[in-house]
Symmetry: D3
Subunit: 305 residues, 6 copies
């Protein structure tokens, strides 16, 4: 059928409008100096390499054995060092102004951060195994820790969180958020990489869980699906912009369990060993060992149809 | 090990049963005349091209610069015109009866719709940037609008909604639903493409959000995760089939905020500037500027363990 | 820039630490004898083949017609038989101890299970079509059963459940869980493959739905997004490990509707024709035909701002 | 390091020069009306499908068996029909002037030609098997006809020739030449698709063999590597352009053998059963049963060093 | 445009004809018992792995360094062991009759042959480096041995020959021929894998070179493009089939040079240090140190035009 | 079946032997400093981009039209600039000693060379079109210049030569040889990139053609398949190594035609307008306008069988 002259003209005009420098302001990520750019695909590769290094055979090359484990590990480590250095560099450049920018120096810093991250991988494995074990013990449907590693979305989300959190601690911008959003998309679990979470952490089912950026979670805590550890409100400055960096999410003590679809909001404290029932809305401190449940009697009306 | 004669026979029988024309009735999407078919992959390509055209460098080819921006834009536009024409044609054929069907005429109409869609892309960019800006201003954890575009699932879901909604307005069947379901799968946010949504719309975290087909949302509205703008019930006809097309979802005024896991149900109106707290169930009108919260006192029982 | 001697040394040390046999204990899935391993990718292929066989033209090769339907079906069946046999074998080996393990015998058993699964495909198609029809009738926004098959995440999740459940019935370990987790990731709907679900089942929107392993659901049941059919608590043995296999999830009668974000917890019974409103927490039996709703009056506080 | 302004300017100028419409004249293959274009990749697919249909299991899907042979054949045939129709259409458009061109009519003719080609596939298989058998009998190093089909470049070159020749007979432009050039590149054997070649044809080793467009070869002929059946000269018209279509290559009778690196040039006749030795230059008729060899005695000087 | 009923009928008939068991006899490679089949792609992988192991950094992963050389080598070796075992098994099955065939036993033998092949790789590297060095010394245009390894087709052809020849010595059918034909296609050099060739072998340019199955070549021999070491004729048995396995190609002594397009035919001997000029046809023994050239004076006629 | 301990040990030993630093000497291309390496794949991309820029629509994206030609050209140019700069850098590093090596400076020089190459593309197009036209006029079987560009291997080989030759002139090592070897493999035509060739050059069929590094060819020359323009011998230094860079190949005047399988050897001169017949061996000067043919009478013996 072909294209008419009128259509060709319209297409040409739209190209011009969308490519116009003024129109591009704010919505375009434009580079001209060869800096690496953060890449969703590279971030996915970083996640894949970390998972394969921490849980070999479960992730990455499945055919791991006594003969080849060192070879695979060696090549994964080298690849991770390269991709991570590149993405950390990209992260450091992401919001940077172009003035007085020394790319060689940034790359150098990125390499040091990547190095420090990699040297922490054995500790990351130890930590994640505490989460695996807690998940296994907390779910009667789990038949083995192998099944937990292989099939439980919570482990993927927590693994991404722990990877991303280390990068936050190393002062890497943007990349940690990309890592946590990939877990969010994959599992429906949204843990901000700046949150602080102890050992033996577990989440059941998980869809809809939200853990805010300034939340602090102790050891051996268990969340069910739909739990929010959120902010109640946030302060704004004189221009009505939100003020960044103020603690606004809860502190959860050791051994706390929070059931499904409950929201804990604001900089409150939930004491150790507390148990918080499902579908409730908590905005005030909970004492150590306290137990909260929905007041069913008042809450449901029953009709005979 | 091979396959036994008995297994071969069983396989053959199953092939026959599954290929049987009667058995295929209703579950098979069969074509013989060369019409294009809606394709999940092509729809994904349409989404990718639109995102790349609206937010160049963030989506699509990352290495956008002053030299190549026009070239990339030109090729994306041409590709989009082709794929979109094809998928709109497929959409127009999807439910059509074969009788009296003029494929050339359908293609011609599809091309006109694609043309109109493309000429609206600059406006779509303007609109989406209002959403980006609202998201940035509404989240203390967001460090820049760039981070919002790159990492926030809400932006992906809203972009898909706005793309799909334009196609609904152009009278394109099925394709808009495929676009919104891809966002639903990617982000857990389910916005029906027929809903009407104003400027500066934002969703925080987002997993579990549902916006129904006849919902109307004003400007500058913010939803949190798990919010449902749903139907309370729906009418059925004499055969007990649901009656299509009746307004059954809420109308939300400008500047409304709705907190997490709340459901607003039925054709009610929430007045401008209202604030609706989390975890509640609203089935009656809310006045302008009104504030609703869960009645905590009655709602939670606290025990010392 | 290259790599320094110090960095090379650090990388080497990390490789050694991560490859160390003791350190690998529990976190590594190691094989040396050529058994097949469960593979996420192969499981995805199994899902894709089943969907293409049950709903030809909607899934798999889209260009299905009268001439080629038998050819496609034949090759899909053969491929499915091979991949499924392989993954069932992998599943049977997954938790098996290596002692006294006869791989040929396991393969033989796997082939028999695959055979039985495949011979049940026509019945699986019939069953899934009842779900499609129920979904179409239950949603005023659905324009055709074709749209339901093509676009509704619930159909994908239920299809995966029904596939996985058959494998559970055939005694296949791990693979069913992988199948249901792929649907969970794709749709946010988490149905345990061991659950028992009747005909004409439907889920609206679906994000956040959880159906536990011992739940029993009758015919013609409808769930909305965020509904949990969960356990209230679980028994632990003397070592504080959860006791596996005890019925701990609800029994839902025929024709029940459960609205969004409601949790039904524990081994309770919801009688036939009951209707359970949204956002509530149910831990006690519901009688036949009973209707439960949130007690709004007590539940919400309204303020004029 | 980035790019300088001067470099950017030079790149821009070169883009303009290479895109200039006048400069593009003759060297650009430009379309705007949606006709299909001949495609090297599609032609490769046609070759692959024909080989797979003629020699199943050796080419195409290797895992052919009693259960799936019909399914594979059915899908290959359908695919071939589509791709071939498309490429024949492209061929018919290739040199066509745009005036008075009816694309629908051309597609219709293309489909008829593709149909005729496909209905001749069983005969093509019979013919090619005579070549396979002749090759096996003519080479002491060949261990089976299976090895000949699998490994002998001559069979690939002859298969491409026979496929291309049928298309020439059906009046298809350009596509046959693309098919023969793919064999030329793969095997070093250059047989013009317009040449006429009898049954039981074979070529040993083959690199450097050339068979011209108007050559006629009888049954049971064998060529060795480097043999040319070429033109001695060609007539030119008043503008010094070569006159197309005049017979200018040799006629080779049945059962002739021509040894390596010999050239037979011009419209001469080599009688049946002749044997022509290697490394010679023949420009005059050879009688039936005659034997030609290089006159060694006169031809080589021997020195003791 | 669609397809007519007549076309559908014709396609169906052709499918039936091509799938007919009788028609398939001889031209179909059909399996039903799960034996591996020789695969052109797997053979290409074997070649690629061998080249990468012998010349690391030049072939295979280019980014080889002190840190990763062992890791790459380990994984290449493991991969080669698996693929080679599989293809040797396929080769052993290729011509085998199905009666009394024990696949497990064949796999066991294949594994032993693969093992022996791999243990010979260091020697293969040594041998090939003598060829590289001879090539470098014999070509004034070569600037380094690195260039020779990277760019000279002769090295690829000789590498494939040496790999294939070892497999011939280990009694592997068909696979060696596939390896040599891949070099033939890539380089135009056709060396039969059963030929015997000494150290420091080199070929200049190479297109059109043919070395027959029973040829024997000493050390330090150099061939130019178009040289044939062929058979003069071959004996046939009473049924006129060629008799397999009789020595019929020349024996070439150490340090011989043979210039372009010359053919040496039959079981003759060319003595050490002989030099044979280009474009000649040699069918009789050549003495040690003898020099043969074309008798130019008698051979060329010169005209003034 | 698994692997035995003995096999595992053998594999381990072979890994060690092949990875041993001493053993790797000369056969390994090892880098540690991040320099780019010449890459066959990148070189293939360079060739593809140049062909697509020079003959748009015939190579590269086939769907070129008035709307998109500038966009495609712009992106191809940018890509070519990047890949070429990278490979020129790799070429400059290829043989360089590591001492005193300034990678930034090398990259800078590479970028300048790439820039100069690209600015010469319009001239390269002009030149190649003279070759296309000469080929069309010289072959009665060619039906259009379009067919020549699309199907004639000579055009691919000459295009690669002209690309490679420009890089030689710009002082780029190794990359030009890789480019010419890719044409050699694809077409069987081996033109050394350092040779000097005039306008309107053409080769018929081409397999086996060799043009040496110091050959000089005038305008409007035509070669047939199997023609060698080679060296007669070469001088060696006191260590018996060939002396590099001495003129040793022929000088061919304007309008010369050389027929198939003829060799012209040594630094001789073939005068303008000479015609040299096939299958001959020329080692002495040929005068302007002279015609040489094989002395048939003396050369062939004829027998009646």
């Amino acid at each position: 059928m072909g294209i008419t002259d009128r259509q060709e003209e319209m297409l040409g005009k739209t190209v011009a409008a969308l490519s116009d420098q003024d129109n591009l302001h704010n919505v375009c990520h434009m580079r001209w100096r060869g800096e690496p750019l953060p890449s969703q695909q590279a971030v996915q590769e970083i996640i894949g390499l970390c998972r394969a290094l921490i849980f070999p055979g479960f992730f990455g090359e499945r055919d791991v054995n006594r003969f080849n484990i060192t070879y695979h590990t060696g090549l994964y480590i080298e690849k991770l060092f390269a991709v991570l250095t590149n993405q950390i560099t990209a992260g450091l450049c992401f919001n940077a102004s172009c003035e007085g920018f020394d790319l060689q120096e940034v790359k150098h810093r990125a390499k040091e951060k990547a190095e420090e991250f990699i040297s922490g991988l054995p500790e990351l494995r130890r930590l994640l195994y505490t989460d695996v074990r807690a998940t296994y013990l907390g779910d009667p449907a789990a038949e083995s820790t192998e099944e937990v590693i292989y099939c439980y979305p919570a482990i993927r989300a927590i693994a991404n969180y722990r990877i991303a959190h280390r990068l936050v601690r190393l002062g890497v911008p943007i990349i940690p958020r990309m890592i946590s959003e990939q877990a969010h998309s994959e599992t429906g679990i949204d843990i901000h990489p700046a949150a602080t979470i102890g050992e033996s952490f577990t989440i059941d089912h998980g869809t809809g869980v939200v853990v805010g950026a300034t939340a602090i979670i102790g050891n051996n805590v268990k969340l069910y699906q739909g739990v929010t550890l959120g902010a109640k409100s946030f302060d704004t400055d004189e221009k009505n912009n939100p003020i960044k960096g103020i603690p606004r999410h809860p502190i959860i003590g050791d051994n706390v369990v929070i059931y499904s679809n409950t929201s804990i909001l604001g900089r409150i404290t939930v004491g150790a060993n507390a148990v918080i029932g499902g579908n409730i809305w908590v905005t005030e401190d909970v004492a150590e060992g306290e137990k909260l449940v929905q007041a069913k009697a008042n809450n449901i009306l029953r009709f005979k149809q």
